[in-house]
């Protein structure tokens, strides 16, 4: 649900200046080191935020959950469970140590380790995100190209208005309308539920993914459109026209490939909105992902699980950010 207007503009010719006169050979190493450094910083930042979440609770969490009547011995055990023992620094060290060892604490409600709860649900969310992204790319690329080429015609204006309207439409409303029309009325997809293994679960995932695409496709298409418009002004596109190259080569090699990379670079940023929407869509379509897990944990005030899921969400964003940066730099050396 981020606003497109605040997406950072890293299109090919705006951000990193293209150094014309002979590339300065730079140490590839420090670029990698620098990236690794920033990943670690953001990861530590996410850990810090997840860590401070529990400290936000007004009053003593143990008394909130256990009630006033609980004995001090029970309360101490509970504070142990929440990792609230010792000084703040010790707690942070214990928390970070725990994460490195792969444990995110134990759930208050089911007394099972949080990692197990998340592990059983993560594949559902990841497959939903995977299907949505691939569907969004398949839909956004053609629309982006058409919007760029015909931007001065009625199609361009219609695209701009419908895109900003779709981006603002609440996902859960479009989900309800989708269920009403596609699932119930035309019976094209199951109303809710999920089945495990790969090919079978596509039947349950395509409708939620389509609803998510309602927001992702306009955003992606707009980013692609703006980077294609930038590419159109490039000199090498003029060369392609002047050479009278066949239309297909012209569109693919001279229009699309140079503009794909900046779009994929922004994909990492757009994933944030996708994950936010996933939470609601999973609930409406009853997909047992970490989104419903989070809602369940929030309603049951299961603090360690909430903390763990927030951390996992952060990691997904960081992971997708890094991989989209790597892919875009591999695709287009100018972004390096």
């Amino acid at each position: 649900m981020e606003r497109p207007s605040e997406l950072p503009q890293r299109t090919a010719n705006e951000g990193t200046p293209i150094r014309l006169g002979g590339w300065v050979s730079r140490l590839a190493g420090n670029r990698l080191l620098q990236r690794l450094g920033s990943i670690l910083l953001v990861t530590f930042g996410v850990m810090l935020i997840a860590f401070t979440l529990i400290r936000l609770i007004p009053g003593d969490p143990a008394s909130i959950l256990l009630g006033e009547g609980a004995s001090t011995q029970d309360r101490e055990a509970f504070r142990e469970l929440l990792g609230l023992k010792g000084s703040l620094v010790q707690q942070l060290a214990a928390y970070v140590g725990g994460i490195l060892r792969g444990s995110l604490g134990t759930s208050v409600e089911s007394r099972q380790p949080v990692t197990q709860f998340i592990a059983s649900r993560l594949p559902v969310t990841l497959s939903l995100i995977g299907v949505t992204i691939s569907m969004a790319l398949v839909l956004a690329v053609p629309i982006g190209i058409l919007a760029a080429i015909y931007r001065r015609t009625w199609f361009g204006h219609l695209f701009r208005i419908t895109a900003s309207a779709l981006v603002a439409t609440p996902t859960f409303f479009s989900a309800v309308v989708a269920i009403l029309l596609l699932a119930i009325h035309f019976n094209l997809a199951p109303v809710a539920g999920y089945r495990g293994n790969f090919p079978a679960n596509l039947r349950y995932l395509w409708l939620p993914a389509l609803v998510l695409c309602g927001v992702q496709v306009p955003v992606l298409a707009r980013v692609l459109q703006s980077s294609i418009v930038d590419t159109l002004e490039q000199e090498f596109v003029e060369t392609a026209i002047v050479r009278g190259l066949p239309r297909r080569t012209y569109v693919w090699r001279y229009l699309l490939r140079p503009s794909l990379a900046p779009t994929i670079a922004l994909l990492g940023y757009i994933i944030g909105t996708l994950l936010g929407a996933c939470v609601i869509i999973e609930l409406i379509f009853n997909l047992p992902g970490i989104g419903t897990g989070l809602v369940q944990a929030v309603t049951n005030r299961d603090y360690p699980t909430v903390q763990g899921i927030v951390f996992v969400f952060g990691m997904i964003v960081v992971l997708v950010n890094t991989s989209s940066d790597l892919v875009s730099e591999w695709l287009d050396p100018r972004l390096r």
Binding site: S5, L48, L180
Partner: protein, 284 residues
């Protein structure tokens, strides 16, 4: 350039006509919804929270939006809900806007190196985390209800404004008139308050409007999940989650609040997109 009659100050109506259609439509819808949300609960005979008629009536002249399971008139509830949602969104945007802009401006102008590292861990991490997930987590900690939501949104959204403000402040740093203030010996604070903040504020304000559309939807989303404003208070998200049950037999219970929410969000977004687009000269 071409000499013409002295420029008479165009009154509001002329300036409105000169706006392009997208802006015009957006403004018309927003004003309409605000007006209705004030008038309908006042003029309607029914009370938003008490049952008015037999439950689950179809939309009719007496009840344009029909009635819900407990017989409450949905037309009144929907516009009473509009009041609450718009108010919450207004507060939910203005607080983080001011905090974020100030922190961002300060972070942008200071020369201390440590600030950028601290910034990269804290603020970038907050912005990395999905907005809705973080707000839900904070609501879980602080407890549900209106105050919980507003604090959660403030704690999450300030980082987005801060990042914007810092980027603008950094850009301003080597602009001549800022350097000039240092030459003239202005104190850091005076430069910041008199020059940097007003400049940065213009940009974050425009961005705030497009954020307004998002915050309305987020608040409704929280209540839809049963984590925000709780029934029986009239709120779009809560009404939709109540109506979701009868989607097959009485779909209007969920569709009308959803429609109102979408129209509000879309019109604010359309207006914001023109404003933000124009003020930042950004092509989208």
């Amino acid at each position: 350039m071409v000499g013409s009659s002295p420029q008479v100050e165009p009154n509001l109506w002329q300036r409105f006509l000169r706006l392009d259609p997208q802006m015009r439509w957006g403004l018309v819808l927003i004003v309409l919804i605000i007006l209705l949300s004030i008038l309908v609960p006042l003029l309607s005979p029914y009370h938003a929270e008490r049952s008015a008629d037999t439950p689950l009536l179809r939309p009719s002249f007496a009840h344009p939006f029909g009635t819900d399971q407990l017989g409450r008139d949905l037309f009144v509830r929907a516009f009473a809900a509009a009041r609450l949602d718009l108010l919450l969104a207004l507060i939910g945007v203005s607080i983080p806007l001011t905090i974020g802009t100030f922190i961002g401006a300060v972070a942008g102008t200071t020369r201390i190196a440590a600030v950028s590292y601290l910034w990269r861990t804290v603020v970038d991490a907050i912005n990395a985390l999905p907005f809705f997930v973080l707000v839900m987590a904070i609501v879980a900690m602080l407890g549900q209800g209106v105050t919980g939501i507003l604090v959660a949104i403030a704690l999450t959204n300030w980082a987005r404004y801060a990042r914007l403000a810092r980027a603008r402040a950094l850009a301003l740093r080597d602009v001549e008139f800022i350097q000039a203030t240092r030459l003239l010996g202005y104190s850091g604070a005076r430069t910041l308050l008199r020059h940097v903040v007003p400049n940065v504020y213009a940009e974050t304000l425009a961005y705030g409007l497009s954020d307004f559309a998002l915050v309305i939807v987020a608040i409704a989303g929280l209540s839809f999940l049963g984590v925000g404003v709780r029934p029986p208070t009239p709120e779009w998200g809560a009404m939709m989650s109540e109506g979701r049950l009868l989607i097959t037999s009485e779909p209007w219970i969920i569709l009308f609040p959803g429609l109102l929410l979408s129209i509000t969000a879309i019109s604010v977004a359309l207006v914001a997109e023109r404003l933000v687009g124009r003020s930042r000269g950004e092509f989208f």
